[in-house]
């Protein structure tokens, strides 16, 4: 019997990953990435003649539960039509039985790559743009549950996209949810996000997610993850973040859910206050700090008045 070399084995494993696109309008180009549950392929849509990204369940992970989860991801994306959320084009089952969905092929940089070239102010503005689709999803009754730098992409036109909604959860009793949302949620909950299951990414998931307390997960869990992203963005910067900014991040990532911002909009508003040089809710400042902030905020006016006063003083001194 002939033994296969490692090279041949890895080649065969690679071939196994290639989705069987027989009978579909797609042709595989190359693999874009691989996660625990699925692989993402760049495929050509032969009808519309454009490249699209196809997320296919990995062969070793094709359980009915995971297939339902991938389909849920596609359905969540289809419900959330927002410029900051990747549009889904198609979904279904391939000839080899693997579940897939196709989405817009995003070409750009990951958050980690993008923030290398920008300062703190631009980073904060970027974070506010990440918050927009998340706040939109919350308004529609969904929480993302896996917000992290790896799930944020900045497209070639500067658009900010929140990716990977595979762990999204529908919050029951949400006023603005679409009629289809409860149906979708029921399916999701059936699929194994039962109490005790840990879903998310360590370092970015909230304490309630780490405990596997899925019943406690709500908008504030995403607030925690966004706070962790803020800390990540600040830690990777050259400038030392101010106390107010540190307090904003600390409030967002408070271990107690009740101590966090009640929603993404409130979190975003506090960052906007910071950017405008206004007092932030997360940080009660002293009189001196308040004065220093006002001087920084109106520095041109302060300099002009000082120049005027110095000039007046000089006139008085020299006239004597």
């Amino acid at each position: 019997m002939t033994r296969l070399s490692d090279h041949v084995i890895s080649r065969l494993q690679g071939e196994l990953l290639v989705p069987d696109l027989t009978g579909t309008r797609y042709q595989p180009v190359r693999m874009l990435g691989r996660g625990g549950m699925a692989t993402v392929w760049l495929v050509n849509d032969t009808v519309l003649r454009r490249p699209v990204a196809m997320k296919v369940l990995a062969p070793e992970a094709s359980s009915p539960e995971l297939a339902a989860r991938l389909l849920n991801e596609a359905q969540v994306l289809a419900q959330l039509e927002h410029p900051g959320i990747v549009p889904v084009h198609d979904a279904g089952t391939l000839a080899d039985g693997r579940t897939f969905y196709c989405m817009k092929c995003v070409q750009g940089k990951t958050l980690e790559e993008f923030i290398q070239d920008i300062g703190v102010r631009e980073r904060l503005e970027l974070l506010r743009r990440i918050m927009e689709p998340v706040a939109f999803a919350h308004a529609r009754g969904f929480v993302h549950r896996d917000l992290k730098p790896g799930n944020v992409m900045i497209g070639e036109f500067g658009e900010v996209l929140v990716m990977d909604w595979g762990l999204a959860k529908w919050l029951e009793g949400t006023a603005h949810a679409e009629p289809d949302a409860p149906l979708l949620a029921a399916e999701v909950e059936k699929e194994g996000t039962s109490h005790g299951t840990v879903l998310g990414t360590r370092g970015f998931m909230s304490p309630e997610q780490e405990r596997g307390d899925q019943q406690s997960v709500d908008e504030r869990s995403d607030v925690f993850s966004l706070g962790a992203i803020l800390q990540f963005m600040l830690a990777n910067g050259k400038e030392q973040p101010s106390r107010a900014l540190q307090a904003i991040a600390a409030t967002a990532t408070a271990a107690e859910k009740g101590s966090r911002y009640p929603g993404v909009l409130e979190f975003s508003a506090d960052i906007e206050h910071y950017l405008l040089g206004e007092p932030v809710n997360a940080y009660p400042e002293s009189v001196l700090e308040k004065a220093a902030r006002q001087v920084r905020r109106h520095q041109v006016a302060v300099v002009l008045v000082l120049v005027y006063l110095i000039m007046r003083l000089a006139f008085i001194i020299f006239s004597h």
Partner: protein, 119 residues
């Protein structure tokens, strides 16, 4: 605050302050009241002109240049009436115009914005 009202207020305050500094010049101290009133009126006129300009032209740079020009022109008028002290009168006057020009553009609100804020 309305750009014109802000211009008038700032012009009046800075003009009055400008006039009050005459107290440090002993030879004109006896004419203090007249100087303060005259300087305040000059500031108000400058404030009105700069405020209206800021309402029409929404540009920080042009606002500063216009303020500087109006301040310098009015101060030149005052200096010409006094037949001297051109530098001592024109430099602070121009500076006051510059500050009012900057402030009206930076802090003054457009009438449409005020309406929207009220709504």
């Amino acid at each position: 605050m309305n750009k014109v009202v802000l211009g008038i207020l700032l012009g009046a305050i800075l003009g009055a302050f400008d006039g009050l500094t005459a107290w440090f010049t002993p030879e004109v101290r006896s004419q203090m009241v007249g100087i303060v009133i005259g300087s305040t009126i000059k500031g108000i006129i400058a404030g009105v002109l700069i405020g209206f300009f800021a309402r029409k032209v929404n540009s920080l740079a042009l606002g500063i240049i216009f303020g500087l020009a109006v301040g310098a022109l009015l101060a030149f008028g005052i200096a010409a009436m006094q037949h001297g002290h051109y530098f001592a009168i024109m430099l602070p006057g121009s500076m006051v115009g510059l500050i009012v020009g900057y402030a009206t553009q930076r802090y003054g609100a457009q009438p449409a914005m005020q309406k929207a804020q009220r709504a």
